[in-house]
Symmetry: C2
Subunit: 354 residues, 2 copies
DNA sequence: TTGTATGCGTTATCAT
DNA sequence: ATGATAACGCATACAA
């Protein structure tokens, strides 16, 4: 046996045929009884089939069934990175709803790379998933998607997306706008904006909200205040460090992601600046840690679990041919905490700085 | 069309047959060319087939292929809760390795419930996944697993598990032991232990480490110091609150999970106690936020991403009939931070307490 | 009430 | 070098 010849032969599970033989009926009858189309079959026969199936521990092969019925009871979930708090809350919502409906979910990490997204989609379609949920994967340039063949899958998006498909979303621009307003109301005028990469749709949406609010409120519109970074802690850290080095003046930070906000917080500490005394910070997504940070982080909360649950329900509704709302917009909520307090924060000697 | 009749018929993707007709060959030839068994086929024919396939955007139906080949290129991942930092880091590791090998991964949340686990396993086996990775799902009582039929899947476990299968793990008892030693070395003698539920294997392992170290070091062995809670922030919070109410004396806390540790931290704050001045805290898993907490949390770090990546590689190796190490034990690392500092921590007025 | 036969889309075996 | 044909395991139209 060569190293490549997939080892031991896979033990064959019992089939409908085996059950049929054991029960002394045909496979048709077995299928009927076990799939609920047993109206016309006498109880006695049903019992024999059920018993035989149980003895043989028979379970229908879902590949064969899917091939025949054209439905796999499977949903594909496309996320940039499942190990990001935002996305795994969404993932949990998707899986809960799916599991309750007897569906399973395949997830793929794309790292916001079009190439990875493409190959995952190919594989998902090859597997004939019944539905595909895009979450946060929206790139600016997505010609690789617009002309795609979805193999008949029900496609739904969470958040901004180039595809014109049913979607769940929030008003990202308004959300950021409300954060900017909050900062302005607490006396800040120079807001450093730690954004994502410029070709991410989410960046564009949120940035639009930032710009509009800054203009509307007459705040400092210096383009140097906008830093294209990313959504990881290190990105926020580096963006702030560089901003400080560049000498641009700012009295507050708005980060488009809580991880980035926490990184920013750390960078400010390292620079000897006090939060919120010297600089206020607002984050995005309100991950569970935001409230536990020091100081607790003001953040915009989105109902991420509900995003996922709702998107999954949309897919199910499409599949069942049910009517449903094609665009569901969820509310956001600015959770104000100490990181944007007005009064000077009488902070201890910072343990991080030793 | 009734509401239940799954809406519009699914558009049928192009098949090998269509490609064959277009290229003027048989399906056999198509299959040969496109599956790499084209040694004996002249380039000219190959080109014709390839061109036809491209024009028709043909992709092999992986259900049919799987049915025929007995392999689905799919791995099932069983976790208690994907929205827990620990598990989604594992999940990312699994998916990265799987994706690189052309496999996809289906994940299921069990909430540590045997019933959910069972039904997920049934579905996974029905789908003929090639491999199954158990992560953190280990319950004490698992008779529902021992006699199971895995439908030929390669089974691997991450962490303690009743199943005698290839596994990746750490020495949980030793890890907790080292944390206890650290606390003892910094002068603590009454360690409150915030454990998981008593029927979780992970609880048993870690608790054994705690008990052994306490005995070995002659620390306070009061059984009241052990609180069976859970791994969520609220569990840690409530456990500490109840411990305080019960009057049991403790000068430190070891939580079997960082979320629980952070909850404990919050409860201590609310009770007006100082960390680490009055009570030291050690957590488990060293989630990214542990270092950002206030005070930064001492925690035991496990290479969770590697757990997942390694488990996935094990599955792949089993599938390919390759030799591999059946038990991989990873090292742990106690990251000492301010929450267990010896010197009284000169803390500011705590912003949380206002 | 039940069974036979066919097809779902591949891959593999055996011919030619 | 290539093509019929037979599985893979199930569900269903059509017979009986």
């Amino acid at each position: 046996m060569t190293a490549n010849s997939s080892g031991a032969r896979r033990p064959r599970a019992s089939t409908a045929k085996a059950v049929a033989e054991r029960a002394g009926v045909s496979v048709t009858t077995v299928s009927r009884v076990l799939s609920g189309h047993a109206d016309a079959i006498p109880q006695e026969t049903q019992d024999r089939v059920t018993a035989a199936a149980a003895e043989l521990r028979y379970r229908p092969n879902s590949l064969a069934r899917a091939l025949r019925k054209g439905s796999t009871q499977t949903i594909g979930l496309i996320v940039p990175d499942i190990s990001d708090t935002y996305f795994h809350q969404v993932a949990r919502g998707v899986e809960d709803v799916a599991q309750a409906a007897g569906y399973m979910v395949i997830f793929c990490n794309t790292d916001r790379l079009a190439a990875k997204e493409q190959s995952c989609l190919d594989l998902l379609c090859d597997k004939r998933v019944d539905g595909i949920i895009f979450c946060g994967g929206g790139l600016d340039e997505e010609k690789h998607l617009s002309s795609r063949d979805w193999a008949g899958a029900a496609v739904v998006a969470i958040g901004p997306h180039v595809l014109d498909v049913p979607a769940v979303r929030v008003d990202d621009a308004a959300a950021i706008g409300s954060a900017v307003e909050h900062l302005a109301a607490t006396g800040r005028r120079h807001i450093l904006c730690v954004a994502g990469q410029p070709d991410w749709l989410i960046t564009r949406q949120r940035l639009a909200g930032y710009r509009a609010a800054v203009r509307r409120l007459g705040l400092d519109g210096n383009p140097q205040l906008i830093r294209y970074a990313g959504f990881a802690s290190t990105h926020g850290h580096d963006a702030v460090t560089q901003a400080l080095a560049s000498g641009v003046v700012f009295d507050s930070v708005i980060a488009f992601d809580d991880y980035a906000a926490l990184g920013a917080l750390q960078a400010l500490r390292e620079a000897g600046l006090h939060v919120p005394g010297d600089v206020a910070i607002v984050g995005c997504d309100d991950i569970p840690f935001a409230a536990l940070a020091c100081p607790p982080l003001t953040s915009i909360r989105f109902p991420t679990y509900d995003f996922g649950a709702t998107a999954a329900r949309m897919v199910l509704d499409m599949l069942n041919g049910k009517e449903f709302q094609h665009v569901v917009e969820f509310p956001f909520e600015l959770n104000v905490r100490a990181s944007t307090a007005v009064t000077a924060h009488t902070c201890e000697r910072d343990p991080l700085r030793r």
